[in-house]
Amino acid sequence: MIEYIFDPFQYNFMIRALVVSVLVGAMCPIIGAYVIARGRSFMGDALAHSVLPGMVVAFMLGFSPLAAAVPAGVGIAALMGFISRKTGVSEDTSVGIVFAGMFALGLTMLATAEGLTVNVEDLLLGQVLGVTTMDVYVSLGLAAMVIAALYAIHRIAVYATFDPVSAEVVGIPVNMVDYALLTLLALVIVIGIQAAGIVLVMAMLITPAAAGHLLARRFVSGMIVGAVIGSISAIAGLYLSYYMNIPSGPAMALIATGVFALAAAYKRRAI
């Protein structure tokens, strides 16, 4: 039994995969707590899909797709934030338009680009077993940045989320907080795409965070419980992916969903 747990880690690629999985599992629910509290699940999913063209361009030019996804994600986050502020078209409509348009553009580029060696399935469904040393460093750097920024803006972000009107009156830059949280969401999505894939990064953002919200009483403790659940789901998903040879995104998403179901059942019993 024990060898099933430790054997995979004689390979360096598995150690890299483990580091990235834990980062994805921990970081997604931390920002996910804000996504849930602000009702921005659709925005998160849309952001993930919209970075595809940026990643394809990186593949074509021979850059690291991860590095390319950072400016793409931040740019699209700013675009969506900008559009959502414009009155006339509702937020989810404008987000949906950008979502579909950008994803379609990315898929079209993938289909027409010549000489691309990229595996489309890995991009869409995640393949954490394939991450490079460079990806590990980029992910660690992004995670550190996100944690530091969230810590810095925590107080005003909670205020602006709970009571934006009063926050604005006392001089908190509510719009800036909005953009900042979207930018951080974009960065976390970039980390998450490696393990969960474009299509399923949503599951890592929302599901463990929702379970944490159910089990913990307060906002920050919900983030922490979510991060623990996310990490466990990611590691379990990594094993599933290794032994059953399935893409890591579905593996992690399935386990996260199972853990959420358990948390919900426990919560019902507790009440």
């Binding site: 849930i36 509290a37 602000r38 009702g39 810095a152 803006i153 107080r155 005003i156 909670v158 205020y159 989320t161 709970f162 009571d163 934006p164 009107v165 009063s166 926050a167 604005e168 009156v169 006392v170 001089g171 908190i172 830059p173 919200h213 009483r217 307060r218 906002f219 919900g222």
Partner: protein, 277 residues
């Protein structure tokens, strides 16, 4: 033209002059003028859609002013917490789980010093504020676990913790039963006696005469402004609520007003929250 957030020493005041506000071509408020000095408890009265919230937005500098001016003179600028705003409950995001203490401590946050750690002084101020509204025992409760009246008192505690000299409360009585409304008024009277200016918007005419020093009656313009017994003439009630407004007598004590098809009882229903005052 613009909202001035005058800072200067001395007692606070609100001065509004010929204020006109338009939104996408429609006039919401026309030529509104009034002036309130320290130690005033004002009921801003008018039907839904009369422009009460818009007036608050203009006073607190959140929307552009098309004509006239609205200025608050206080001991420090607006963005350093001189004005406390208690919004309508619909504009609060109840999905984020915050405790009563979290909310009151928000009063220590303004445009300055986001990273500053809360010190002993901040915590002491928070404790005093919660004591004053009688919620110290409920400090660890989530806001969603409180009744409507307790929530309003928590927001008032935040205003106290903010050390604001002007309080703007938007529909603080809605969804709050009459007994809990009285508790809120009790706290506000104490604040008035300390020299604060308090404006409370309400569309509910219950017990106005007993509750407020001054009633500012608004329906897109100022219909009347003065002590309640002088402000509520039959003509003013007609302007505010149309021909259906008949029940309120000048200087009355417990007369209430009926909107068509809606009895005061329906408007005063309490939220279905587990804990009551």
């Amino acid at each position: 033209m613009a909202t001035q957030n005058g800072s200067g020493v001395g007692p606070p005041s609100i001065v509004v002059n010929d204020l006109t506000i338009e939104r996408s071509g429609t006039r919401i408020l026309t030529d509104v003028s009034f002036e309130f000095g320290p130690g005033t408890l004002v009921g801003v009265v008018g039907p839904n859609g009369a422009g009460k919230s818009t007036l608050f937005e203009a006073i607190s500098g959140r929307i552009p002013i098309h004509h006239g001016s609205a200025a608050i003179y206080a001991d420090r600028p607006l963005n350093q917490g001189s004005v406390a705003y208690v919004p309508q409950r619909d504009s609060i995001n109840w999905r984020i789980p915050v405790t009563v203490e979290d909310v009151v401590m928000m009063g220590r946050t303004n445009s300055k010093g986001w990273l500053r750690r809360y010190g002993r002084e901040d915590r002491e101020l928070c404790r005093q504020s919660l004591d004053r509204v009688n919620l110290w025992d409920r400090r660890s409760a989530l806001m969603t676990e409180l009744s409507g009246g307790q929530r309003q008192r928590a927001f008032i505690a935040r205003a106290l913790c903010q050390e604001a000299s002007v309080l703007l409360l938007d529909e603080s009585f809605s969804g709050v039963d009459v007994g809990a409304q009285e508790d809120i008024v009790q706290v506000l009277r104490g604040l008035r006696d300390e020299g604060k200016i308090i404006l409370l918007a309400t569309h509910d005419l219950t017990n106005l005469a007993e509750r407020f020093d001054i009633c500012l009656c608004i329906n897109k313009h100022v219909c009347a402004c003065g002590p309640p017994e002088e402000a509520f003439t039959p003509q003013v009630l007609e302007e505010l609520y149309g021909s259906h407004g008949v029940v309120f007598a000048t200087g009355g004590s417990s007369h209430s007003h009926e909107e068509p098809g809606r009895t005061p009882v329906q408007e005063q229903h309490e939220d279905t929250h587990p804990v009551h005052d």
